[in-house]
Amino acid sequence: MSEAGDGLALGSLLLALLGGALRVSTPFLFVSLGECITEKSGRINLGLEGILVLGAMCGYGASLLSGSPWLGVLAAGLSGLLMGLLHGLLCSLRKVNDIAVGIALMLFGTGLAFFLGKPLIQPQAPMLPALELGAWSDNAQVQSALRINVLLPLGLALALALRWGFSNSRWGLALRLVGDNAAAARALGYAVVPMRVGATAIGGFLAGIGGAFLSLHYPGSWNEGLSSGQGLMAVALVIFARWDPLRCALAALLFGAAGALGPALQSQGVTAGYYLFNAAPYVLTLALMAASWAPGRSLAGAPGELSLTQR
């Protein structure tokens, strides 16, 4: 291949990665923002993987039945809210560990979604609309890279709002106090357990919406292999982003780009290591965790009550 050809291939590869970042990052964004709220309250919910899958199924089913993808998004959020509520309530019981309950809900949510989603594999539900930000360009590749979904700007706005809310609103400060030092929060008259349950339920709601994106926009159908660890990667992503919503958004875009690497290379004719390139996001997650989580270094921003970062 000529040098000009290589340059062109590299350019379209980068464009594909950008497109991937804008297209694939939305579930990471919503799950990580939800987990961010949960973890700020001092709990961790590893069940978000199950909530993501269940949300995808509920969103698809509700969109199919009602004809409105937005009702699908709402249904997905509500299913996540219920699962989050379940997690929050179970963890409030004495001697019940939040990490273990998360693993259990991961399996339970996946099983529930597979069971109830069996009839949804064939029919085609109405999809969420796309925003054509690339309409100004004549280049078809640019156009497709900038074709984003409506949930992405909503998620980015939410990240900004959370960033502001955690440090400026009364509600955000109370939540952080509950997550940092339950005894102090109790002394000031805050109800620690209800706040944690509420934060977990809201986190579940957002994770459910992330699931609706998977089934209602990209890849845009319901099947059992829809999410392979994206909910769990988002949990790691929150740690990498040091519990900062804006950094969560940046990290989500990075994960989207990594997830687009395999398909992008395949469209360039590089098919040899397809499965290996698909493992790129997992490797990236591990590498980022290793880079950001060294022993002895204090985890700036880590909620003090979080079981994940203790010991």
């Binding site: 990490i99 273990a100 399996l107 339970f108 499965y275 493992a279 591990l286 965790m289």
Partner: protein, 344 residues
């Protein structure tokens, strides 16, 4: 009287949880118009109702015992490992790679080499999580599950690529094992030798954790790593050893599935035993002897799936729902347990 109470104290919450999960499952099915009580009956019938059902249950319980050890042994050292599926996958791969390389040797030697290779790579895979935890402070729960996804990607990459038998057209597989290398059935039963290996490993694990100095040291590390370090215990090495042994068990399970059931490594080998093993270990409170009993329970649920599908047309994911409900209920009912304050 005291002995009776000592036995029933831990069993009572588990029994209550099983009853609760069964009730929830029945309610869930009834709400969707399925015959709920018939379904529960079919679960019992499909798991333990006939000789065939028992054989099916025992064959499924065998790998579960080993993948559950992959959770239980690290848990003894205070680590929550949920990536047994990854060790299972690399173990299955190792078992498929070894025979072509050792074609001249007698069958028992090749089988032994397959088992050792599977244990070694499976153990190494989980030990990687332990090392990341000890050296870099990375949470082992997340890292082990990420490593499982990576292992499955490597598995698919090699089975569909470098290790693929050109003759396997529609179903990419590695070269089939020679008949002489297959592990047969136990004498007088229609259950493969994996069951004996599973029970043996659980008994050995129980002796190791409850009756040896090494097991005691691992337990101290699991109880309080800081106190263990102050007492001069090599915390890092003990964590690593617990994960090596646990991962080795899961790797052996992968080898057994290849050498006793499927005859080659292919996508059908990865049927979720690694994930179901998490439930088995938690249900047994990470007690290796309890794992043998709980593997029969969870293996039985899995074995009843096809009967549920045939008789009342339930989707095959019904057994997943029941397993999930059981897992959630077990953890919730732990709160009733007055003794045993370990929060794992």
């Amino acid at each position: 009287m005291h002995a009776v109470r000592a036995f029933f104290m831990p069993v009572a919450p588990v029994t209550a949880a099983i009853a609760f999960a069964a009730a929830m499952f029945a309610l869930f099915l009834a709400l969707q118009g399925y015959p709920a009580l018939a379904a529960l009956g079919l679960v019992v019938e499909g798991a333990y109702g006939s000789v065939f059902a028992w054989q099916n249950t025992l064959s499924r319980a065998a790998p579960l015992m080993l993948t559950a050890l992959c959770v239980a042994l690290p848990a003894r050292a205070g680590l929550v490992i949920i990536g047994g599926e990854g060790a299972f996958a690399v173990g299955a791969l190792a078992a498929a790679v070894v025979p072509p390389a050792l074609s001249g040797l007698p069958a028992p030697a090749v089988q032994l080499a397959m088992a050792l290779a599977a244990c070694a790579v499976g153990g190494g895979w989980i030990a990687l999580s332990a090392w990341l935890r000890h050296a870099r402070g990375i949470n082992e729960t997340i890292s082990s599950l990420l490593l499982a996804y990576i292992a499955i990607a490597v598995f698919n990459f090699l089975v569909e690529g470098a290790l693929r038998d050109p003759a396997s057209l529609n179903k990419p597989s590695t070269l089939p094992l020679a008949d002489s290398l297959m592990l047969g059935a136990l004498p007088g039963l229609d259950v493969h030798w994996g069951l004996a290996w599973g029970v043996l490993c659980c008994v050995l694990a129980w002796c190791l954790t409850r009756r040896t100095v090494f097991g005691f040291a691992v337990g101290v590390v699991g109880g309080n790593p800081r106190a263990a370090a102050m007492a001069g215990l090599p915390v890092g090495r003990l964590i690593l050893a617990a994960c090596l042994l646990g991962g080795g068990a899961a790797g052996l399970a992968g080898m057994l599935e290849v050498a006793a059931v499927h005859g080659s490594a292919n996508a059908a080998v990865l049927a979720g035993y690694g994930y179901a093993g998490i439930l088995v270990s938690f249900a047994a409170r990470h007690n290796p002897l309890g794992i043998v009993a709980c593997a029969l329970l969870v293996g039985g649920i899995g074995a009843s799936g096809s009967l549920l599908q045939r008789r009342i047309d339930l989707p095959d994911a019904a057994t997943l729902v029941l397993q999930g409900a059981l897992f959630v209920a077990l953890l919730a009912f732990e709160t009733l347990n007055r003794k045993g304050g370990r929060r794992v």
